[in-house]
Assembly symmetry: C2
Homo-oligomer: 468 residues x 2
Amino acid sequence: MSATLLDALRAAVGAAQVLTEGDLSAYELDWRKRWRGKALAVVRPGSTDEVAQVVRACAAAGASIVAQGGNTGLVGGGVPDDSGRQVLLSLSRMNRVRAIDSANATITLEAGCVLKAAQDAAADQDLLFPLSLAAEGSCTIGGNLATNAGGTQVLRFGNARDLCLGLEVVTAQGDVWNGLTGLRKDNTGYDLRDLMIGSEGTLGIITAATMKLHPLPAAQLTAFAACGNLTACVHLLELARRHLGAALTGFEVMGSAALELVARHFPQLPRPLPGAAWTVLLECADAHSESQARERVESLLQTAIEHGHVADAVLAESVAQARALWHVRESIPLAQSLEGPNIKHDIALPVSAIASFVRRTDATLQTAFPGSRVINFGHLGDGNLHYNLQPAPGVQAQAFLDQHEAAVNRIVYDAVALFDGSISAEHGIGALKRDELHERKSPVAMAMMKAIKQALDPLGTLNPGRVL
Amino acid sequence: MSATLLDALRAAVGAAQVLTEGDLSAYELDWRKRWRGKALAVVRPGSTDEVAQVVRACAAAGASIVAQGGNTGLVGGGVPDDSGRQVLLSLSRMNRVRAIDSANATITLEAGCVLKAAQDAAADQDLLFPLSLAAEGSCTIGGNLATNAGGTQVLRFGNARDLCLGLEVVTAQGDVWNGLTGLRKDNTGYDLRDLMIGSEGTLGIITAATMKLHPLPAAQLTAFAACGNLTACVHLLELARRHLGAALTGFEVMGSAALELVARHFPQLPRPLPGAAWTVLLECADAHSESQARERVESLLQTAIEHGHVADAVLAESVAQARALWHVRESIPLAQSLEGPNIKHDIALPVSAIASFVRRTDATLQTAFPGSRVINFGHLGDGNLHYNLQPAPGVQAQAFLDQHEAAVNRIVYDAVALFDGSISAEHGIGALKRDELHERKSPVAMAMMKAIKQALDPLGTLNPGRVL
């Protein structure tokens, strides 16, 4: 059986693109090094038609397929299991920019196109591809869409879903659905595009996408603001939305414990507001001029100080200073890694509930695990926190995780449920949160999801055991 | 069987809310007076639980259900067929605003809430509910979502889909899915929300929704610009996107034939740029001040005039003048009605293809039907044209329609297909375009849609014969 399938795969994509030997850990080991699988073969098709042939061959042989882009996922959704029977389908060779239509403000990309390459292709035409996230140098458009990626520009431009107009998808039957429309409006039937987006390779394999582009802003301004508590941060967000409207493109929040880790592990980085309990990174874009943007941000911060929401603030005076401020924000995850093993969460809450959630959950965790440190930071404008737990200083971290990770997750996710939040804001479900999803999602929603999976992939060819 | 079902319906919602006698044309006759059906009963539940009971009763009796909001649909999707066996489920009594969360910038509404009431409820909190369309005084949120309504603010705020965060839905089995989340990010499983949105009551019955709110802009500015041809309008759009960024909230286009009809039937309305081949209505919102908005729009128009895209322009000097300009735009459909029967289209095209599409299709129609008048207007910023045909003056219009409507549609929709457009941009499929959809949609997409319908509504309880 396997031999026949391997022959069919070699016939489909060429023998050189069917990898079965040597070190395949670039494909079989996930980025966080939490899941190491073993594939029957790594298959690297070069065209949509080859992807379709691979799917048909696998379906006929009863083998299942894990699609993979840049292998930067955080929930184990893109690596094979350890059965040695799954086919790892890498989209990495399908990395072309197929077309840019400036007048329509769209770009059509193959799934394996690296996010940074898409940004660059747009910038070459004086246009903005707004999706931006930490892994942008290696993650791919197909993976971004399969997981509905978020990032730092969601407040203004939305998730990957909101940027996508059309898809090309290979179905579980190995048919090609050409839904590559560049239309802003199209009400002709069910929304198959959004059903595929975020389905993590379980309903179809995204092979290309047409995405929206935006004008490049004339100017961008970045500021740090010191707030005494999270409620003040939320007030500042409300005020910023009113003062800046759609010019508000970023609103990140960082707790003092997170910035202390950055200061410890990256002492060379600036620390503009060292005493702040909470620091907000605020970004404003302007279509017109930097002076108008500066005037607006200064007026906003002045008002926020007068209202007592903000104690102090700094505005970047140059692009280099703005980059340095962003660099502080982006160094938190790495500082956490350098500090040692920790427990990560990617939660979303109604913005109006965030302060209460944090007060309550901080206290519960402190009672259960005295001295443990909540490293709390994230995209406050979207209600998305990376609410992570670092064991108390001096505690053996790996042992702490082995013993307490499940209990910590239970405390956090129970509180998320209490405040009508989400246990996965932008990372997806994959393998990591599958059991949690089954336990916590509404049974009516789970029944609909299973019915849809059964309808579109009755043989279970596509990424079985993930999400559902 | 019917008697038993009627008893069950009366038990579910109370006898007074099960209408079987008298003039039911408010429910059975569509707004365009093209479809007159006959329902077994009009049922008016007052709560989500009552909706669920009605669905279970109908499913048990083998009866099908047509859900209806404000009955303002344009494609015959919300009225019963003439069998006398369908249950018309009116959501009109479920019209409450359940909650407004200012800090989270969300509003939760029942399906039968009239769009204008939702706008007013948001404005009372100094917030903007941006969905806006001609029928807003009577259409409802449930219908807006079931058809993924568009309107005049899509360029900036998106369709109904883009404004929705969460849904409450009664499934074909009569279960209640509570997906009323106010989260900006939630990647926990398949996107059931977007699958329901735009499915025109065939996959579930939307009973409530949580929608995004935006800050009210400090100032709005409206302008008319005269362009020599459609290509110039597209250039102006590109320039406006660059100059105004997200402050560009409206970009409507009107052909001279459309404005001539308005001038004929509404001579009291202003006609600011009488000689223009094409007139653009441009709207700019500003979070800050009217003077900055005016400065930006003036600078944009100056640049457009220098580049030769615009021949002349007028800016509204007051709110009253701005309303008058919008009123001209919004009077086109009524002027068409007063002129006599005509053939309507609601098409979308890539913005970059619009000028070519119009040149070619105008010529084809003129050759086939000499003297007929294309009344062309719409939301150019979204690539959405209402590309309508009025028979030649003096021709008996109803006879022309009876004889030629199918041929006209074929010419228009063939050209739409040639330019990768859509035959339904914002009105949906309903009964009107069902055959057209089956003929023109990709067979792979149709197969997926049918599989999903079968999976979620295996008995065909929900709005059978519509869309699919």
